[in-house]
Amino acid sequence: MEPRFKAIADHALLVKFADDASVEAHTCVIALDRAIASDPPVGMIETVPALVNLLVTFDPVLTDHLAVEGHVRKCLKGLKVEEIAGVRRHIQVCYEASFAPDLEAVASATGLSTDAVINAHLAGDYHVLMYGFSPGYAYLSGVTEEIQVPRKPAPIRDVPAGSVIIAGPQCLITTLTMPTGWSIIGRSPNAIFTGDATHPFLFDVGDNVTFERVDLATFERLSKDIDHG
């Protein structure tokens, strides 16, 4: 795909592959992100991958939009979109009722049993699209159509960190106690903040995610492991 370039203020360039979200556009974003990471332009500060575009921020004292665009065009020439493969991450989820206050509501909205909702959630093939909203909030695509439900009309406050939430085709594991209007269907004992300075967040954009069901005892054991670092 041939991207368009847009200068953002004095310190960033937005590289946009499409107007509407698509797997193809997102694959191009990830491929370009990786190509730039292995060959960053002079003065670059960071790149931010999103659904259809990649932001490249830079120090305007050291470079400018045109120089960065030139470098990005060079990276685009050798871009190998077909070779993009993300790491597969396995995330455990406990669907215990106390962790899943909206499971019943999702079941009745979709005409499924709660077990069928859980199985549909486990059956999805998830893909890390981008981060947003708050530190560590990774937006995953791949919620199967049968359990896609809209956002609630009003957000619920103080939703605990680790909550597994869904809205439309997207799923997210919260990292902070925050309000959300998404449906809360479980909780994960896995830490998104890894505590590892070289890889501080579990997911990279482009990773694939598989959910695995755990019971309450396993959840508690795994949560304890996190607490003890």
Binding site: P49, T57, Y131, P135
Partner: protein, 333 residues
């Protein structure tokens, strides 16, 4: 060197620990944070001869009152036009002073400005997150917000007699309209919306914190295409919600979002913008991205020169008293 310790007698909301910030983590949903007014923050460290990026405290309009419990230390206070009370002495912000055990320091909102900076001739001991002590206010990560009753410890506390007194304020900050580069989603607005943004006056509302500043003024209508795919956001993005109200995103902004951005404030104008208070009227002007690069380079040249000037020690108190008149507002026992 010894430690200095303070108890926080009072801290208003959004009084936070800040360093130069943690760029490089936006891909994980983490904005860089750091000072709302980077020039004033840099000046506070320069005036003490600190390395750039040393950890300081950002003080909101809510103010801060400290009581020195242990040791003595030289401090620099910059930013806006705040009121600084050190024992019986009352000065403005932009001052260097030494505070000792038993003394009280109060920094309160003054005539102008929304943020002041308190830098220390020493190392403030606070929490680090992702290699930075800057507070990300919505998560609380980093050094964090100061709470009344807590204790602050500064290790390697130094006394810098050769730096005491008033700090020369920067005189090169422009006071004209806030400069923006239009876009990236200006095409999502109805005809005339960009012209309206650039020709009408907008007011700062009290919906203003480290995440952003909501404005009041003529509405900027979208052309109906409200649902754009979530796109990256930068500090300075002017995003417009579905009701046409613009918000300028600042130091602790969300990293991606689906609201269209009509324009983006150029980097150093976000610093002077941040000092405006609720009710302040402002205007925008559009410049090309090429022009914005020229402007920022000129500004950074002046900033570097200014910081190097104020970082030169001005000699001992004795030398200075012999060489110049008593600095106004200060009384030496």
């Amino acid at each position: 060197m010894a430690n200095a310790a303070f108890s926080v007698s009072f801290a208003g909301p959004l009084v936070t620990v800040q360093d130069a910030g943690r760029p490089g983590n936006m891909r994980y949903g983490v904005s860089a944070s750091g000072p709302m007014d980077r020039l004033a923050y840099d000046a506070a460290n320069a005036a003490l001869g600190n390395p750039p990026g040393a950890t300081a405290i950002e003080i909101s309009l809510g103010g801060l009152v400290l009581q020195c419990k242990e040791g003595a230390i030289t401090l620099a206070i910059t930013g806006g036009d705040f009121v600084v009370e050190h024992g019986p002495q009352k000065t403005g912000s932009w001052t260097v002073l030494t505070i000792s055990k038993g003394e009280r320091l109060a920094i309160r909102a003054g005539k102008a400005g929304s943020w002041a900076y308190l830098a220390f001739a020493g190392s403030l001991e606070t929490e680090d997150w992702l290699g930075s002590q800057a507070t990300h206010s919505t998560s609380g990560f980093g050094g964090g917000a100061l709470q009344s009753g807590q204790t602050l410890v500064i290790s390697d506390a130094g006394i810098r007699d050769d730096r005491l007194g008033e700090i020369v304020q920067p005189d090169f900050t422009p006071d004209g309209p806030i400069r923006v580069v239009t876009g990236p989603q200006d095409h999502h607005f109805s005809e005339g919306a960009v012209e309206r943004l650039l020709s009408e006056a907008y007011k700062v509302t009290d919906a203003y914190d480290r995440m952003g500043m909501r404005l009041k003024g003529p509405l900027l209508e979208l052309d109906g295409a409200l649902s754009i795919p979530s796109e990256p956001i930068v500090r300075g993005s002017i995003q417009v919600s579905g009701d046409g109200v613009p918000t300028i995103l600042l130091a602790d902004h969300q990293t991606t979002g689906g609201y269209p951005k009509i324009a983006t404030v150029i980097s150093y104008d976000t610093d002077r913008l941040a000092q405006f208070r609720a009710g302040h009227s402002l205007r925008f002007t559009s410049i090309s991205s090429e022009h914005s690069i020229d402007d920022v380079r000129t500004f950074m040249g002046m900033k570097t020169q200014y910081l190097s000037q104020i970082s030169v020690p001005r000699g001992s108190l004795e030398q200075r008293l012999m060489g110049e008149n008593l600095i106004h507002g200060c009384v030496f026992d």
